[in-house]
Symmetry: C2
Subunit: 322 residues, 2 copies
DNA sequence: TCCCTTATAGTCAAATGGATTATAACTGGA
DNA sequence: TCCAGTTATAATCCATTTGACTATAAGGGA
């Protein structure tokens, strides 16, 4: 490989780059019975994580090690989410910089859950306003909307009031707008800015009477989850990643329910089947499932060949526009 | 903010997280006269970069500082690309880990280029196989295809041969497949694996007689550029980021040429105009441009209001499917 | 004036995608 | 045994999108 000293390298040498601690944080997802779940530790308020250390061969292997050690759960599919600098940590004698690298991991929920600390929680416990499978959740209209309007109107400048109202309307689909399931991060940032989640505690209202009811997380872990949900909701539309969450064989309805769980909205059944079949993402196993409650459904398995054929080129799933 | 010690934090304390050097690397893009350019330093083979240090307020501000110092160029739009662990650097007494955080930055090319070290180069000098604006470039059919087939056939296992041929065919659109402009990274990885670029020097053929003619870069900088091109080609289709590269006012054809420069392929003119106008991305300035060579064209400017309206919701640009 | 260039408007057909209806195959209870 | 309820599977309809094409307008230069 190229190892010559270049102009850039010389510039670098002039500055003693400060050393930094690096943390790896995992948002691990599985779907069970139509509930999308996040893997947590502690009081179900913490994501698996740990420092990147010398013994780790790579960032990903370091992450796998920490998750397996803390939850007993091995990881399959992994993808990087975002790297951010934490606010300064004050070390013993000097200031200590730290950065965190967050990852999204997809897996199947194992029965033998392993470690006692391991805990799967529906991610809608942390984001009750994100589940629109039964229509707009009550908390959005009854709590979030009035609070956000109140927050918008609490600022003096008229232009800023209008801008805040517009942001809220677009993110949540107020005023006859469509709800866009991919805006999970923007919605979280709004409720955070408006001081409606615990971790936003920006000095006001210590009684928390005005919080939106939802389960909180340590530090910025809930923001990482929001980032991951948004990424996943976007990605299922053009990459066949759903299958990382499915068992070996499944019915088309099970597949649809899984996509719906992730997207947080319902999908038109015939259209879903049409697209899946058109793209030849799956093949029949020849068997049928009996426990559907109605007519037995054919069982399918993922055609792994498509990973060679189209992994690159792009798939699509029909998550209706509203 | 939440600063309580959690289960995860305790686990962390048990392991003295090793300290790491962090580098910030920028892929800075501008488009001039229909040529998409990358900002380089050194022998036009190095991206602006520098270590993340204590005096930097944030990762992004650190990056801005280094780019401005090394090239004299201020940055506008910035977005994170990817974080990766470099192979171990051997320090004075102990092994030293390093990670790099790469960014994509969009800007307008300033006339007063500033620093002498600053150099804009067409990115197609580094990726001649990526410019399909005049049809498939000769280098693809004359050089790349035979070399890739040779590389595929050089492996013993028949299944692996088939897989390599298929990867090449899909990435480059051989065998009547469509060329997909977003596969820039996959194509680079193929030519790298096949040993067709200088930096891949995997021990074979030191004479380099079999290399594909193209400008090389230091270390893995060319891979970062490939990642950035891919990201940008994808992003222009659903976010109005092109306007970061445009002057204050412009004609619709100039806008189209810029998109074509980025996408590396031509676009149908009437359809392009239709989509731009439908989405109300721009508004007329009322003036016209005289130097079009033909009938004078109306001048437009970007409607910054759309950043409030749809930044979130998604735009679309018509980059034809082939 | 003719011919070249580019701008701008309008048309057409194929493909996509959302919604609906119809029929099939099972379970469980009256 | 038959009927109601449930889910599976197939087929159709129609509005919108989108790719490709044609026609006309408005400038410059020979």
């Amino acid at each position: 490989m190229d190892d010559q000293e270049t102009g850039a390298s010389k510039d670098r040498a002039a500055v003693t780059g400060d050393e930094v601690k690096v943390d790896l944080i995992a948002f691990v997802v599985a779907v069970n019975d139509g509930e999308p779940c996040v893997l947590t530790i502690g009081q179900a308020d913490t994501l698996p994580s740990g420092p990147f250390a010398l013994e780790h061969r790579s960032l990903q292997s370091g992450l796998r090690g920490w998750v397996e050690q803390q939850t007993g759960h091995p990881l399959g599919y992994i993808e990087q989410l975002y790297t951010f600098a934490d606010r300064d940590r004050v070390g013993a004698e000097r200031r200590q910089r730290a950065i965190s690298i967050s990852y999204l991991a997809l897996t199947r929920m194992e029965k033998a859950a392993g470690s006692p600390k391991c805990g799967w929680r529906s991610w809608y416990e942390y984001f009750p306003w994100e589940d629109h499978r039964s229509g707009t959740p009550p908390v959005v209209l009854d709590v979030l909307r009035p609070r956000l309007i109140e927050w918008a109107d609490s600022v003096g400048d008229a232009a800023m009031r209008r801008e805040r109202r517009q942001r809220a309307a677009m993110a949540f689909g107020f005023d006859d707008r469509h709800w866009n399931e991919e805006l999970t991060l923007q919605r979280y940032e709004l409720v955070y800015e408006a001081g409606l989640v615990q971790e936003a505690g920006n000095g006001r209202d210590p009684t928390r009477a005005s919080l939106v009811p939802s389960k909180s997380m340590v530090a910025d872990h809930r923001r990482i989850v929001a980032t991951g949900i948004a990424r996943l909701r976007s990605k299922i539309k053009y990459r066949p990643v759903v299958f990382e969450l499915m068992p070996q064989s499944f019915t088309l309805l099970q597949l649809q329910r899984t996509v719906e769980a992730l997207a947080g909205r319902l999908i038109n059944k015939p259209n879903f089947r049409r697209l899946i079949e058109q793209q030849e993402l799956v093949e029949e196993t020849g068997e049928t499932s009996i426990d559907t409650g109605g007519r037995p459904a054919r069982l399918y398995r993922f055609r792994h060949a498509v990973l060679d054929e189209t992994a690159i080129v792009g798939t699509k799933l029909p998550v209706a526009r509203g």
